[in-house]
């Protein structure tokens, strides 16, 4: 691997990310999958870095899941998106940041489509007006939330309590990064680092002390693939894609996987359980799995937040071996205590995959 070759490509794909004043939209599914992630994004950006991030309870889905499942007309998706832009305009913002990769791809695709077909934009403006008497300006900048954390990575590193270093060996942690397909594959120039060698997560890992692993199936789909998973008859394809990735990364012994998409961390986390149950195979050390983190969770960990406050108990793969390696202290007894000491109850332990 020629690192300078990648740097050359990264230099070609740098996009402008304004530092402040963002209109934030959430993902439909992330709060169920990784409930701490979006909360921590706001906590880090607003609370810690004092950025102006605005969100409104009036925003809806972007229509992306329906769009990619082919169950919704394109004009409908566009009108939904136009309404989101109207909310942004009404709130007085010009920079639009999405929590979800598919939403991000959806926004970019729609804006590019309007650029090519201005008459379609005119029609959508009419439809939005007829539907809810709203008007909108197009955002000046559209970013994915991981672009912002990438932008703030060095500020976070400066405040970090922990580095991505194995405290037993002193070696940098070996990290697999996985980028959601809709981040840059459709419009490579809109992703930090492009589509073939995305830099957005690599930048965080490098800045926080870890080593990025490049393995043969790095570009491969996580396995979610919308219709692969949603249609039960196809679910074996979803599992098989994930299996292919894990088989390919196995020889590198990664310490954890970092992701920036709603679906990827979920499927790479949960399918490790299914692979363990059906194939008897696990990929971490001593029968554990490989922990899969979102970039907000990782940022929170290096900043020293309590693992149980950022939702890591909802991961299928136990994160404790990773916490031990980084040197993050945690109280095992507190793991399944929710807000105000509420007992969340303990999940049943799997038969093959070792968990805590």
């Amino acid at each position: 691997m020629i690192y300078q070759g990648k740097q050359k490509i990264w230099a070609d794909y740098q996009k402008e990310i304004p530092d402040n004043h963002w209109f934030y939209v959430r993902s439909c599914i992330r709060q169920n999958f990784f409930p701490g992630a979006e909360k921590m994004f706001l906590e880090i950006c607003r609370g810690l870095l004092k950025k102006d991030i605005f969100e409104t309870e009036h925003h809806t889905t972007c229509g992306g899941i329906a769009y990619h499942c082919d169950t919704i007309p394109q004009e409908t998706v566009m009108t939904i998106v136009a309404r989101q832009f109207a909310l942004m305009t009404e709130a007085g913002y010009e920079n639009y940041v999405a929590s979800c990769i598919t939403s991000f791809g959806n926004y970019i695709e729609i804006l590019e489509t309007w650029k090519e077909f201005p008459e379609l934009e005119t029609r959508i403006r009419e439809m939005l007006w007829k539907a809810c008497k709203r008007e909108f300006n197009k955002p000046k900048y559209v970013a994915h939330a991981s672009d912002l954390i990438y932008k703030y990575r060095n500020e976070i590193a400066a405040r970090a309590k922990f580095r991505l270093v194995n405290r037993f060996t002193g070696e940098p942690l070996k990290v697999v990064e996985h980028i959601g397909c809709h981040y840059a594959k459709m419009f490579p120039a809109r992703g930090v680092g492009g589509a073939e060698y995305p830099y957005v997560l690599c930048g965080m890992i490098e800045s926080w002390g870890g080593n990025v692993i490049d393995y043969p199936e790095r570009r491969h789909c996580c396995g979610y693939g919308f219709r692969q998973y949603h249609v039960k008859a196809n679910r074996g394809y979803s599992l098989s894609n994930t299996y292919k990735k894990f088989e390919s990364m196995e020889p590198y012994h990664p310490d954890f996987i970092l992701t920036n998409c709603p679906g990827c961390p979920y499927f790479m986390d949960r399918w490790q359980y299914v692979i363990a149950e059906t194939e008897g195979k696990t990929y971490g050390e001593n029968g554990y799995g490989i922990p899969v983190l979102t970039y907000e969770e990782l940022a929170s960990l290096v900043l020293g937040y309590n693992p149980w406050d950022i939702g890591l108990q909802l991961h299928q793969v136990a994160v404790e071996p990773l916490l031990d390696k980084i040197g993050i202290e945690y109280d095992p007894k507190e793991k399944y205590k929710g807000l105000n000491e509420k007992d969340l109850m303990r999940p049943e332990l799997p038969g093959v995959l070792r968990c805590c």
């Binding site: 039960k232 679910r235 074996g236 599992l239 098989s240 292919k244 299914v274 149950e277 059906t278």
Partner: protein, 110 residues
Amino acid sequence: MDFGFKLSPSSAINLDKVDTEKFAELHRAEPDVYKCMACGSCTSTCPANRFSGMSVRKVILGLQRGKEKEVIAMMKNCMLCGKCSMVCPRGINTRHLILSICRIYGEDMK
């Protein structure tokens, strides 16, 4: 545990895992085997093809892709009529080739 779904077998051909020894032996006996350019003349003229799928082109390809079992099953439909040798633009002696395959891959035919 039965989830109602499981890993799907991969259809990909991994050339790293294809055994090349027997094909090398075949190549020594029949150097022309490599000359096939996959034009399909043999297949279109084969009297067994439309009923059984027999195709000399597929036989030659399959042996290089680790599909010996499928190829051998296919070859059992060959009637050695020789029409394929008549039409081959590269002049491959297909009848002789088929007999050499039978000899070299004989074990797989059982």
